[in-house]
Symmetry: C2
Subunit: 286 residues, 2 copies
């Protein structure tokens, strides 16, 4: 196969359509939460609304950054990008299926939510579809609470386990361990958060792998808003907010030191505003 | 030569003594500035005092972190560390003089000052002495203003140029360019600050190179406090403070993505608290 086979391109378009549909659903739910937040400690602030910014990639394609700065979601970004191009000599040997034909097509959704309340976990979700002379899916979802609540954590993990259990192509124990190993800060000896799932190079059967990838997004769309709604009205202390700002520092350390997508994107001329949308709005290293 | 030759070790001790002396002088001046700050916009806060914390390196040696959280210096750290050990197989081929004998000795002073006022530049200064089967000095000083003032910048550059001009082993144009090239964020297309000097692998004549390295520290000790004292009483606006917090984000991006000392230190088991003392106390990515 090649990246421009009509059947391959048509599947790519289906993946892209899904990522855009999921983005719209996520934005709708998050804006609804903003409207419901009249009883939260941040009720004096106006409800947030997403602002969308289109960007073009010089090498081909582009994306839309949707960012909301609200009263529950202090800063949440939902990026959908669909890019095409050719890998440089340096990357051809390192990317699956790119050794003989460097052309690629990639589409994905990336979400990072930094919450105003230290009692609501931060969350990350990403799913993507890659095409070279091969194709594969990757993605995952994980939470970073400041004050880890066993109920939130177990609900989040259960939702992702149920998704994996419904799909033969998925392996929850492996994907959970992969997440724990990936989101780890060796210099601190700390996990970034409470984990979730992480998967990459998923290429068993296209329809099956796409269905699983859609389900990861749908599960996140269901479980994360439920956790947010349960916690968002809880009052917090100054000390808890300070702990949140310090915890966010660990998030920054992880993303800039270790996150492959961030480091790869920045060092290969990606859009820094879109890539660094993941960084928290306010951080402390006291 | 080897790292444990008595003459080599004695020179190392002289370098170490200097770094500790310079640290004490810097701390004394910075505390004096804190006391003088009764007319600054942050006069309601108590004058800061350095707190020192000793740490041991598991592989050998250790250091002292001196940190002050004050009203002019929002967070300033002055680290002196003196460490010994053996380079891993991976590093032997990459470090000067370590191919056949992996033992090393290293001592240095590292200073990062994040100021409360957006009208006072942040500053960085570092000088170090390394010994393997060879020896060399390295270091430099640079400023990162939020609102670059031509007088501050030209005074700072002039002080460093004068130091270089007094020492035959130093080359101001080369060291200035080295600094500009090193403290650059390619993903932003931005310089981290207004530069200064940067040098490494300096090994012409031990006494001459040590004298230059001392003079870099002494020049910084003179010029930076002068700039701080000139600017610290100026009132600032909320918008200027916000610009400072955003500028600090670029500082974090540089240190975690590109700074060799930070990345090398964290990935080789250095003390994360000492290494990341360079990160600003409060940062925004709005």
């Amino acid at each position: 196969m090649t990246v421009d086979d009509p059947a391959v391109a048509a599947r790519g378009e289906r993946a892209r359509d899904w990522f855009e549909t999921l983005r719209d659903r996520l934005c709708t739910v998050f804006e609804a939460i903003e409207d419901e937040a009249e009883s939260t400690p941040a009720r004096g602030l106006p409800p947030g609304r997403f602002e969308r910014t289109e960007w073009q990639r010089p090498g081909g394609g582009g994306g839309v950054m949707a960012v909301m700065r609200g009263r529950v979601f202090e800063k949440v970004g939902v990026n959908v990008s669909t890019v095409t191009g050719e890998f440089s000599e340096e990357f051809r040997g390192r990317v699956r299926g790119a050794a003989d034909d460097p052309r690629f097509w990639a589409s994905g959704l990336s979400l990072v939510a930094h919450m105003r309340s230290p009692r609501v976990p931060a969350a990350h979700m990403n799913t993507r579809h890659l095409i070279t002379t091969e194709w594969w899916f990757g993605g995952g979802a994980d939470m970073t609470p400041t004050i880890a609540d066993p109920l939130d954590t177990s609900e989040f993990h259960a939702a992702l386990r149920e998704v994996c259990d419904r799909h033969a192509c998925a392996d929850y124990p492996r994907f959970k361990t992969w997440c724990d190993e990936y989101f780890y800060l060796p210099h601190r000896g700390e996990a970034r958060g409470v984990g979730g799932i992480f998967y990459d190079d998923l290429a068993t059967d296209w329809e099956a792998d796409f269905a699983f990838t859609r389900d990861v997004g749908s599960a996140f769309l269901e479980v994360f808003p439920r956790i947010v709604r349960r916690r968002m009205a809880e009052p917090w202390t100054v000390g808890e907010r300070e702990a949140l700002l310090v915890k966010r520092g660990r998030y920054v350390e992880f993303n800039l030191l270790y996150d492959r997508g961030t480091v790869f994107g920045l060092k290969t001329g990606g859009n820094p505003e879109a890539i660094l949308m993941s960084l928290p709005p306010e951080v402390r290293w006291p």
